[in-house]
């Protein structure tokens, strides 16, 4: 990343997400700040904007999940046996395409008769919460340790780098599965759903931090030697000032990009863990769990498998498109 020292002027580097479009000019800094340059580039990137729109749409859906379910769906644990073909004993949804109709927008679950739309919407809430919070955990840990390793150097760097190497050289998925299977299903009165969310955020967030830590460390190492840091130091700035006023603002762009790109990975990990049966426990709906349920029906009711699969795909793709666009906008070299 070759961001000039002028980027450090932009102390309030907020993510150039699409919501900045609603209030142009606000917080705008005279001259060409990195934020403005990046925003101008991002606006031209139609694909990235499309990705951002889908991401925002999904976030809105997740927040409004209970309302959407009330308006457009049915309660997630309501069994609509009348929608199933019970006469022939197959228990499959009546009608074409897995029972998709105006009443059941994404069809009906075979055997149980639950509304797939409601379960997808409700699952979005869980998935996005896990993905965002664990990305947050990874970012905080990665930034703190990466910054410390790069800035302090010496034995601190050796220890932190060794820990990062160690974590990256770990059978992560296997370990996460095993760890999740020994951790309690429910604690602190949170109920099965939110207890699991907390545990998943911890496990996914913890295994994700070395990726960001490595990048932050590398950037810090090269920034540390730059003239503007030297100038600041020669003017008598203390370490704290150099860290937070000089280095951190320059690191904001790569941190932002990698946080954005770690979210889709987290979505896939959460879905994988739920698919394997150690993620969100049933009867709480989750995308991975729905795919896992669909395994036994995919030959006779393929829609039941395609709906959650397609939803995971679209979500992850949208985040990837937006993340790639953001990276290109903030780092012209990576184009």
């Amino acid at each position: 990343m070759s961001l000039g020292p002028e980027a450090s002027v932009t102390d309030e580097m907020t993510p150039p997400t699409a919501d900045a479009a609603d209030r142009p000019g606000e917080k705008a800094i005279a001259g060409r700040s990195l934020k403005q340059i990046a925003w101008r580039r991002l606006k031209k990137d139609k694909v990235a904007i499309a990705g951002a729109c889908v991401v925002i749409f999904l976030i809105v859906v997740a927040i409004l999940a209970p309302l959407l379910i009330r308006w457009l769906g049915h309660p997630i644990d309501e069994y609509h046996q009348e929608k199933l073909d019970l006469e022939t004993g197959t228990g499959l949804p009546k009608g074409a395409l897995g029972g998709i109709s105006w009443d059941f927008l994404l069809g009906v679950e075979p055997q149980s008769g639950r509304d797939i739309f409601s379960r997808i919407v409700f699952g979005a809430q869980t998935t996005l919460t896990v993905a965002f919070l664990s990305a947050f955990v990874s970012t905080i840990l990665g930034t703190v340790f990466g910054l410390a390793a790069g800035f302090l150097g010496g034995w601190v760097d050796s220890v932190i780098s060794r820990i990062m190497d160690f974590l990256l050289a770990f059978p992560q998925l296997l370990f996460a599965i095993a760890l999740l299977s020994v951790l309690p299903d429910e604690f602190a009165g949170l109920g099965t759903r939110w207890s699991r969310v907390v545990v998943l955020v911890g496990v996914i967030g913890f295994f994700g931090w070395p990726y960001i830590g490595r990048i932050v460390r590398g950037q810090t190492l090269s920034l540390r030697e730059r003239e503007f840091v030297e100038a600041s130091r020669s003017m008598g700035a203390r370490s704290g000032r150099i860290l937070f006023r000089e280095l951190l603002p320059n690191l904001a762009a790569p941190i932002l990009v990698y946080t954005t790109l770690i979210i889709p990975t987290n979505i896939l990990t959460e879905a994988a863990l739920s698919f394997l049966g150690v993620g969100i426990p049933p009867p709480n709906p989750s995308w991975g769990g729905m795919l896992s349920d669909a395994v036994q029906f995919y030959q006779v009711d393929p829609m039941y498998m395609i709906v959650p699969g397609a939803v995971i795909f679209i979500t992850v793709l949208a985040f990837n498109l937006f993340g790639d666009g953001l990276r290109d906008a903030l780092d012209p070299k990576a184009r």
Binding site: D165, F166, L168, A169, F170, P171, Q172, L173, L174, F175, I177, A178, L179, S181, V182, L183, P184, P264, L268, A271, A272, F275, L276, G277, V278, G288, L291, S292, A294, V295, Y298, Q299, P302, M305, I306, G309, I312, F313, V316, L317, N320, L321, D324, A334
Partner: protein, 333 residues
């Protein structure tokens, strides 16, 4: 070079020791901290108290954790005896413990699974290296062309598709609807190479697609960066043919980062491709681990985690050595 190799090997051994210690600690400390009894996890929940006490004695669960860890390590190196009075079970080295859910030693059980995982991972690796690198290089050389855009769009879709979805979808299409391929079932290579191949085609392609997408993106980015370097311009200025510039100068440094990633990915897969194995019902290490997790069979989980860690550390070691050979500067670091 020798000093470099020795240093790397010592590093690898230390990493393995730490992985075993952490894994062991977590599987024996967490159940204790949350109030569940490891003996219960071992034997299943419907056992009578006397049997549980017997297991506890035999497995040495009353020992302090470091004593248990020491015994566990000794078992791997030299084998160990589990004794509860006259009831002695000998477990020869490398002993990874004793599974009570299946009433078998862990080591031979896992040795049976390794060929499955090995076949899956190696076959897929060949595919994804060929597909990923060739599309990556072509995309970089013909930047902005139709091929580039098509390849990168496919690659982006590839990294966004979970393997458990593509796996299900491809078996629905090719096995169930079209009937071109048999319902996946692992056939040992030595038994019938043709069946081995036919049964693994779908898992290979599914797994390779995911990785090929990542590799194509990575190769393209690396190649583009290398092609912009001064020495490539110098090579061109010297009047070398494009073939030599790309083949001899650009590819070598453009592909070195791929070596690192490939080592890590293959190492991780050899420890069990949990998702692919689950989707295609291949009874490899990952499948075994998952079954063990569902049955709370801790020794098997621990065993698979250790084997997986071993593969990753070993792959890392190879990567480091290969790297020292490709790029002499690394040796000095």
């Amino acid at each position: 070079m020798l000093a470099y190799i020795v240093r790397r090997v010592i590093n690898a051994i230390i990493t393995l020791l730490v992985v075993t210690a952490v894994t062991f600690g977590i599987f024996f400390a967490i159940p204790k901290a949350t109030g569940s009894d490891p003996a219960l996890l071992y034997i299943g929940k419907q056992s009578d108290p006397a049997a549980i006490e017997g297991i506890r004695q035999k497995m040495g669960f009353d020992d302090p954790i470091y004593v248990q860890y020491g015994k566990f390590l000794k078992g791997i190196v030299a084998g160990r005896d589990y004794a509860n009075g006259p009831d002695v079970t000998h477990c020869p080295a490398p002993c990874l413990g004793y599974s009570f859910a299946t009433e078998q030693e862990v080591t031979p059980l896992l040795l049976e699974d390794i060929p499955v995982t090995l076949s899956l991972a190696l076959g897929a690796a060949v595919l994804w290296l060929i597909m990923g690198i060739s599309f990556g290089v072509i995309s970089a050389l013909r930047r902005g062309s139709f091929v580039d855009r098509a390849a990168m769009t496919t690659a982006l879709a590839g990294v966004s598709l979970p393997v458990y979805f593509t796996g299900l979808l491809s078996s629905a299409i090719f096995v169930y609807w079209l009937g071109w391929l048999p319902q996946g079932q692992y056939v040992p290579f030595l038994e019938n190479p043709a069946d081995w191949f036919v049964n693994l085609i779908l898992p290979w392609i599914t797994l390779a697609f995911l990785f090929a997408a990542t590799y194509a993106r990575l190769t393209r980015a690396n190649m583009l960066e290398t092609l912009g370097e001064d020495y490539v311009r110098t090579a061109r200025a010297k009047g070398l043919t494009e073939r030599v510039v790309i083949g001899k100068h650009a590819l070598r440094s453009g592909l070195t980062p791929i070596v690192t990633v490939f080592g890590l990915d293959l190492g991780a897969l050899l420890g069990g491709a949990v998702l692919t194995e689950t989707v295609f019902n291949l009874r490899g290490l990952g499948y075994q681990a998952l079954t063990a997790i569902r049955q709370n069979d801790l020794p098997i989980i621990l065993g698979v985690t250790l084997i997986a860690a071993f593969f990753i550390v070993f792959a890392n070691l190879i990567v480091d050595l290969v790297y020292g050979w490709i790029d002499p500067r690394v040796r000095l670091a």
